[in-house]
Symmetry: C2
Subunit: 203 residues, 2 copies
């Protein structure tokens, strides 16, 4: 092969270069922000040519998307672990709500510059965000189903109606755009809303 780019035989594999670009871009965005950075800035800071970066990512948004997706996966790993800690559906629901809030706060608000990517993602409905929101809905329905089967939750209300309403109640703590205005409530809000939700689910 006469490629001028490194191949697996002569250099790092594609996924390694991708990871290298993403790690460098994450650092760069942390310091300089997402909005103000161009692909040229990134190329300069990583020491790659712009053309080389474009071989792996078609745009700055594609890089932002990949960083955002990694961050959302991290939140979901924490939430899954929290939900798996208990077999009781009401407790699963409480922990799910609490873990989403805490992980989102830590990953997006601890570092304002990552918040900026998340805010763009949420405002512009990036595919990674839409998929994330769907997975939240799926997890919520699974917990609700488990509670209906165990007899902990009522079964009269259609499952989708229940899941949608609970999602709306949780939204101020899940969506970074709303969470920025809910910071005074993150200590007690999720607990108080979980209790309200659990009262609404009692058979």
């Amino acid at each position: 092969m006469n490629s001028t780019y490194p191949t697996s035989a002569r250099g790092p594999a594609d996924h390694e270069v991708r990871d290298q670009i993403l790690a460098a871009a994450t650092e760069h965005f942390r310091h300089y922000g997402y909005a103000k950075t161009t692909v040229s800035d990134l190329a300069k800071s990583i020491g790659f040519s712009k053309a080389y970066i474009y071989k792996f990512f078609e745009s700055k948004q594609a890089i932002g998307e990949a960083i955002c997706a990694t961050c959302l996966r991290q939140i979901e790993t924490e939430v899954s672990a929290a939900v798996a800690e208990t077999d009781l559906p009401p407790e699963k629901l409480r922990r799910m709500f609490k873990a989403y809030t805490e992980a989102t706060l830590r990953l997006l608000f601890h570092d304002r510059k990552l918040y900026e990517i998340a805010a763009s993602a949420a405002t512009e409905h990036w595919p990674s965000v839409l998929a994330y929101e769907e997975r939240i809905g799926k997890l919520l329905r699974e917990v609700l189903q488990a509670g209906r089967q165990s007899g902990d939750f009522e079964r009269k209300t259609p499952l989708d109606e229940t899941a949608t309403a609970i999602y709306l109640a949780m939204r101020p703590y899940l969506n970074p755009l709303l969470l920025q205005y809910s910071l005074d409530y993150t200590e007690d809000g999720p607990t108080q809303l979980s209790s309200l939700v659990l009262r609404s689910l009692s058979p």
Copy 2:
């Protein structure tokens, strides 16, 4: 009296001048925005001296506060009327939530420039906003009390706990900062959340 300002005997009463300044300021803010306007701009546009305006309002924020308070009173008049239309506490709760959302949308979002004042007021916790939020809590507790007395609502949960949680569920539709990111949900959200809240209140 040797005042150089108009007195009730020789000109408009103080409250009339105040209202005149407020009407002109509201119009001015509508067109040019709140943040970018100075008291000098207002004075020029109304045709008063800056000193004369300062006789009635100590700052631009004091003018913004008065406009904001008028707007909040208008929302509350609509909500009170909606709540008074029915004697059934569950229905009062539904109408309260719906009326707050609709009135806030119409008064603050129909006109982006009034939204700007409301957003400053909410971000900076202006006294008019704090008082407004307290009155929302008071109305909510009254409706809850009525429902507990009529037997429509459960009485086990402490009233304040119930009221706080319901307020948190309603917040994305009451607070203009959150409402700007809830516009996709204003059609069905308040109804779905009211139903969830009413399920949580069932005795």
